[in-house]
Amino acid sequence: MKQDNKPAKRAKPRPSAKRRAQSRREFIRSSVLAAGVVGFSLLGFLPVARGTSLRLRPPGSIKETFDEQQFLASCIKCGQCVQVCPVEAIKLADLDEGFGVGVPYIDARAQACDFSCDGLQCVLACPTGALTHELDYPADTRMGFARLSRPESCLAVKGKGFRGQARGPGFTGLLRYEEVDRWNPIPVADHPYDLELCDLCVRQCPIEIRITQCAAEAAEAGTENKARVAAKIGNECPPRHAIALEPVEGGDGVMRMQPVIKEGCVGCGVCEMICPPDPAAIVIDIHEITDMAS
């Protein structure tokens, strides 16, 4: 390069003192802004680290016990799962859940997932696979696991029946009762019960209902269709029971009927929603999914 005979590059005039003070202030201000905004965004880690953002998630959520990182990362926070749910069970978390803001959850006591969409619509709607598309049927999912947390308030344990609206007249939760309307869920409050012994958690369990239907279909099918029905087992026919009312010996040596959770429980939360006492005797655990075969 021949720079020698070129005039020296025009020296930039030194900015005025006022200008320099201005840019120094801008620099400090910008540093504070950067620290402030990034710092605030990182506060979102607190609820995640403390586990307060852990929730019952929609079917197919890619997560592990106590670790929702993959789920929170892959969710694009758009709420398409919310929009397709026929019972509006799915809600989006608020900012108090930090990095979990905008991520779907289910408050089972208020409105459980009753699978009345039949085909896991939320899973189909998810654009990112945060709800894994590998699920096809309700029985494939494992959102959580039911637990009889307050046996002392369970009506069956007390040997009591149940009459009336399961959660009182003001309850807005929905359930699909196939005998009432095959396609549309109705308010639980519009469907009073009259039971000699309360078995609502078993009676309304979507897995148990499906098993009963499949058994009826199998009985009707006769020998020639047995093969076709058998093929459905393990697919839309749940392979394992989820809950049953069984006699269990209490601490006082007396046998009482009690809901017993089986391996096939998917944690949909219908039992928690329908349970008449307040707080519910049966709840969904999202942590303890290991004590399955109790």
């Binding site: 840019s23 801008e26 620099f27 201000r29 910008s30 802004l33 950067a34 905004v37 990034v38 605030f40 965004s41 990182l42 979102g44 880690f45 995640v48 990182q69 993959q70 929170l72 990362a73 892959s74 969710c75 694009i76 926070k77 758009c78 709420g79 398409q80 919310v82 929009q83 397709v84 809600k91 989006l92 608020d94 900012l95 108090d96 930090g98 990095f99 803001v101 905008g102 709607a125 654009p127 990112t128 696979g129």
Partner: protein, 323 residues
Amino acid sequence: MSYVVESLRQLFGAAPHKPDKEEIGRFASEVHLYKKANPYSKADFEIMYEEHGSGSKKWRNRRWATLIIVNLLFVVSYFFDIQLLEGALTASRFVGFHMADLNSALQVVLAYKHIVLNLVIGTVTVFVLWLLLGGRTFCAWACPYHLLSEWAEMLHLKLVKKKVISNHTFDRRVRSLFYIVFALLALISGYTVFETISPTGIISRALIYGPGIALVWVGLLLLFEVFYSRRAWCRYVCPIGVTYGVVGLVSPLRVRYNVKDCHHEGDCRKICLVPHVLDMTVKGRSAHMNVDVSADCTRCGMCVDVCPTDSLNFVMKGLSKKQ
């Protein structure tokens, strides 16, 4: 300097390039010399403003209508369950077609470290859409925070005029810093950190699914903009703007400046969200007769509306007649 290079420089916070004498074209240079020899008189400006009146609100009205309709479409679609536009601005389905906000998709991919087919389809669709429409057009024509921020700005300017407050500017390079930091945070932490505080996502979800405490954060941002720094979020922070700005690098839809009739009074720079893109409107800085406004421009059209001499106009490169 090429359009792409200059746009990139401006997007990432550099001061606009001031063309040297040698870089200024022959015709532009003649115009500059002519204007120097025959400066506009006070009477010229009076005539100019008389003819222009108080300016039109054509583009602003069209833009506000579009922005409101886009966001209402989400709300109405869910409310009436008509499945026209499902989801929120971060990701949606428009009559069944996947759409994904480019920045949200980027954050998810960085945090999740997998690429999902539906997300690729949605991202490409949205990329092509904003490529045709001008990149940061997303900001001015679709982002709900932009509209709220515009209203906050009106208030801010009123207060500044009354000398109740003064505006505080930041170093524009801080937005590049935010862009890098949020990308790294997503990659390292494995969480979509920026989504947590993105007012665009928060407002979009609040409109569709109902309000929550996340709106308090949006309120704080707006207060900051009213009382402390004009349009601070969009100007100095938001990575979404940078992402769409990069798309706009190669977009044919731009605002084009013509130096011939320009009186260099600077009305356009006063109302602009990103006034550095209009640096060529300063007397003597236009390198050519026509100069395209850089990709950091949100194509909001306020300068087109306010320009008293019709020197700024939307063009579709390749479609408009060559001047």
